[in-house]
């Protein structure tokens, strides 16, 4: 392996801020946090995919993929990370290397590609993504990017996370490392305020950031940089001047949060925008950290006042669904999102959560689930599609909430399903988001379509069959 990638991966694995990691012994830690993949029984994206997910939301940057057509051609413009301005991040750039590049090396093509992009599109920066084939033939993207940056007088950032070094989650972190190494702290903001924060690991899927932003705006808190949802290159470059940071709970960018604390003394906390109590907790922690860093103390009171108003408004709107949803059974299969924070909102709406996945949850999460759902909470570690299908068919659940991967398991069982993963088109963050989620569940559950698709066909009706 490229020694630099290898060293990076080790450093990412040793993440001291990760509790999960700290509970391991030396040997297990060295092995890293990635499970060995099982050939023929694996699912999920590669490291390149992860790096691209993490960085592509930076909207004004040209994201150039150095590799054969598969890596970009099969995947571009397929995510739902929203922008409030530049559209360049949705333009697919790739060196689309051919057989001759594989033999003679693709560095020249890469250099020329960077030049073409700068000449035609003039972005504030170009991010260059390494892929398996170009890594295997030894293309030195760091050297090419360095030379291109000198030659064209523009930041050209190498993102060294070829697919075969590991899964998506590792790629998130390697992508984040590129920001730490080449972007963050390279520019100074024009002004700073005592209310400047960074949000780290939020990708603005379906525009969720905009469900949160009005709350922060109302409190006078400024998002100096969101890494990376609806991001701008210069904002990220200036993000080291924030007073405090929030790391979104999926931990996908824990290394950014921790290293920015080490390097620039920006304290961070782990928070979530999903669930009403989580949202309030996040606002409280933000206010507390900012006040600790010198913001006027009245921020705390204003935050509490805002929380009181917004919580009341949200609970009232959710409770309105209770008569309709009372007793309906939900199967909740989530990925990174903390299950228990959503469970509380579902329960408030009268729904019964008959099972929740805990595949990615920590020990504390599981304790919390027990607290909310009771001792006999049905926690599912790893459910096969066949088991899900059976559970739905046997009507032990009325609706499944899950990621797109298991969507067809539910639909083919003619059962209601709601997308709560990253490909979704609805935003479920903050107080507004939880109300929207409950409304969507209600809309889905009571759609008349279920009754129709479950009705027997004419040739399945015994009376008719006899008559024929």
């Amino acid at each position: 392996m490229d020694a630099r990638v290898s060293a990076k991966i080790q450093s990412v694995f040793e993440e001291p801020a990760c509790e999960h990691n700290q509970n391991k012994d030396e040997k297990a830690r060295k092995k890293g946090c990635t499970k060995q993949l099982s050939p023929g029984a694996a699912a999920g994206g590669c490291a390149f995919d992860g790096a691209k997910i993490a960085l592509q939301p930076i909207a004004d940057v040209a994201h150039l993929v150095h590799g054969p057509i598969a890596c970009e051609g099969n995947s571009w413009d397929n995510r739902n990370s929203s922008t409030s301005g530049p559209q360049l991040y949705r333009t697919g750039f790739t060196t689309d290397i051919g057989e001759l590049d594989v033999i003679y090396g693709g560095e020249k093509r890469l250099f020329k590609s960077i030049r073409e992009i700068i000449e035609k599109y003039d972005p504030p920066a170009v991010f260059v993504y390494q892929t398996c084939v170009t890594a295997l033939i030894g293309d030195d993207i760091e050297a090419v990017c360095k030379r291109a940056a000198e030659k064209f007088g523009k930041p050209v950032v190498p993102v060294n996370a070829p697919g075969f070094v590991g899964p998506k989650n590792l790629g998130n972190k390697l992508g984040a490392e590129a920001l730490l190494d080449y972007v963050i702290g390279t520019e100074e903001p024009e002004v700073t305020t005592p209310y400047d924060i960074n949000i780290i690991g939020e990708y603005n899927l379906a525009g969720e950031l905009w469900q949160i932003r009005p709350l922060l705006d109302a409190l006078g808190i400024r998002i100096l940089s969101c890494i990376s949802g609806d991001g701008r290159y210069h904002e990220v470059a200036q993000s080291h001047r924030a007073k405090a940071a929030m790391m979104v709970c999926s931990k996908s960018m824990i290394n950014v949060a921790r290293k920015m604390e080490d390097r620039y003394g920006i304290p961070f906390f782990e928070g979530s925008f999903y669930g009403i109590e989580d949202m309030s907790d996040t606002l409280r922690q933000l206010a507390r950290l900012l006040v600790q860093r010198g913001a006027p103390a009245d921020l705390l009171d204003r935050t509490e006042a805002l929380i009181a108003v917004e919580e009341k408004r949200a609970w009232e709107r959710i409770a309105a669904y209770r008569p309709r949803l009372e007793g309906k059974k939900v199967l909740l299969i989530t990925g990174g999102v903390k299950s228990w924070s959503v469970v509380a909102a579902l329960q408030e709406a009268g729904l019964e959560v008959v099972g929740t996945s805990v595949k990615k949850s920590t020990k504390e999460d599981k304790e919390k689930i027990k607290e909310i759902m009771g001792e006999d909470a049905h926690m599912i570690d790893d459910m096969t599609p066949r088991e899900m299908f059976k559970m739905l068919r046997d009507a032990r659940a009325d609706i499944m909430l899950s990621g797109g991967r298991s969507q067809f398991v539910a639909l083919k069982a003619k059962m209601p399903w709601l997308d709560i993963n990253q490909e979704r088109h609805y935003a479920y963050a903050g107080y507004e988001g939880m109300v929207d989620l409950v409304r969507e569940i209600s809309k889905t559950l009571f759609n008349p379509v279920w009754e129709q698709v479950r009705a027997p066909a004419p040739w399945e009706t015994p009376a008719l069959e006899e008559a024929c």
Binding site: A42, A43, C71, T95, D96, P162
Partner: protein
């Protein structure tokens, strides 16, 4: 006769092309009880799988050998062995179909050799499951090349010369550009003459969006291994699309009579198929086909008002490009820009001046001044910037539902396609305004009694300064 060029750019911008292994796996998805698998890193499969899920809105069974860098360098034999055993245990498919990727081709894995060893070692465990392999490096060719290579590999692996031909059995080798609905239409056309149609592969059996009785980890339908083996005994084989030439040549080499249609979209193209079916069956065309032909003629008459003279820009794989371009030209439209993904002998016959093997940026630049853009869903950004409508054709169409049921072959398919295209023009009809017919500066000057030469005016409507309109791709 079109001139064919390759894009000279180092950097592809907004790719039109998808990779070979994905095309191969798409072909494998048209086989019954099959598990397609890419021999590469897990991302290779994941990207392709997500793309097909979003296009078809169906579960897509597709596996990966999950290569990492160590296994890549040491060779992927262990990974393939484990993968095959895992799939056998978990899904027990009739066929495991493997496509290589850029990664394992760069390393140079001898997969055929591996498979012989693995079969020998696990003969008993793997009993009842066939394995087929096709070489499809990502850095060569495109989606339809992978599809073509996969079918060629299937024919090579399973079809043997037959002693006798089964009367009335017609094999069909469809190209990657045909939808499940297209395949159903072809089948119905053949069956209308009392013939049996055997489609290989048959995505209309697996990706047509039906609801199975129980959960299946493999494909939900499609051509069976016996269907493939039976190709050798077909009375006749019909191939659709130039991309199928390789498979056709293999079948002809073992004595199977074949006819290759370069397209089945359009009146004359469908007439040619119907004529062949009449000859093969010895039966006249049924009345409903005759009526459908009449409907198509009428659609062409009604449609030519709207398609005639229209400038259309098309970005599609060679066979789809040829089919769509030919129809546009036959309806009096002009194919003003044509961009494709890979080389094909068909490209010189596309009715346009130049065909470029390039990307959607190339298409967008050439489409300035066109009335319609036809390409897959990734053309949506370009269409918005150009301010012209987009007609979605090909894969992927992740922002539409019902893509499996888009029909564009046969009399009915062509009829509906003409209606759809004409209706787009009707919906975007330009309403004239008072500024639409400005006088040239020369005329204005003459009317005002001034000299015509050397117009100094800087008005944008002045013909002496207005060059061709250039719409920037990125608004400043």
């Amino acid at each position: 006769m079109a001139i064919v060029h390759d894009s000279k750019k180092a950097c592809a911008v907004n790719p039109l092309k998808m990779s070979q292994p994905l095309g191969a796996c798409y072909a494998f998805l048209g086989l019954a009880s099959t598990m397609p698998m890419m021999h590469g890193s897990q991302g290779c499969t994941s990207f392709g799988l997500v793309l097909l899920v979003r296009h078809f809105k169906e579960a897509i069974p597709m596996q990966t050998t999950a290569m990492n860098e160590v296994s890549t360098i040491l060779g992927g034999m262990d990974n393939i062995e484990q993968a095959v055993l895992n799939i056998k245990k978990r899904a027990n498919p009739a066929l495991i179909a493997i496509a290589s990727t850029g990664l394992t081709e760069t390393k140079g894995d001898d997969v055929d050799g591996y498979l012989r060893l693995i079969r020998a070692k696990h003969a008993e465990t793997l009993d009842g499951t066939e394995i087929v392999y096709v070489s499809t490096p990502d850095y060569v060719g495109a989606f339809q090349d992978g599809w073509a290579a996969a079918i060629k590999a299937l024919v090579a692996a399973f079809v043997t010369p037959a002693e006798t031909r089964v009367t009335g059995r017609i094999g069909v080798l469809p190209g990657a550009h045909l939808t499940p609905a297209d395949l159903e239409e072809v089948r119905e056309l053949i069956e209308a003459f009392g013939l049996d149609a055997v489609l290989v592969p048959d995505v209309s059996g697996s990706l047509d969006g039906h609801i199975p009785e129980d959960f299946t980890p493999t494909t939900l339908g499609g051509a069976t291994l016996d269907d493939i083996r039976g190709l050798g005994a077909c009375e006749h084989v019909i191939a659709i699309g130039e991309q199928m030439r390789g498979a056709v040549e293999r079948l002809e080499a073992i004595g199977v009579p074949c006819t290759l249609f370069d397209r089945l979209t359009g009146l004359t193209a469908t007439d040619a198929l119907v004529a062949l079916l009449m000859r093969l069956s010895g039966k006249p065309a049924p009345a409903r086909l005759k009526r459908q032909r009449g409907q198509l003629q009428d659609a062409m008459l009604d449609g030519h008002f709207h398609l005639g003279g229209k400038r259309v820009a098309i970005g599609a794989e060679p066979d789809l490009l040829f089919a769509l371009s030919s129809l546009i030209a036959e309806m009096g439209g002009e194919v003003a820009a044509a961009v494709t993904t890979t080389h094909s002998p068909l490209l010189v016959r596309v009715p346009t001046e130049e065909v470029l093997v390039g990307d959607l940026e190339d298409l967008e630049m050439r489409a300035v001044g066109c009335d319609l853009l036809i390409t897959h869903a990734h053309g949506r950004q370009a269409a918005t910037r150009l301010g012209i409508p987009l007609f979605r054709a090909g894969i992927p169409q992740f922002d539409r539902i019902g893509t499996a049921h888009q029909l564009s072959v046969g009399y009915r398919g062509t009829r509906d396609l003409i209606f759809q295209l004409a209706n787009i023009f009707l919906a975007h009809m330009h309403a004239h305004g008072p500024e639409d017919w400005p006088l040239p500066a020369e005329a204005v000057a003459a009317a005002q009694g001034q000299s015509a030469a050397g117009c100094g005016c800087a008005s944008s409507s002045c013909s002496s300064v207005s060059d061709e309109v250039v719409i920037p791709i990125i608004p400043a």
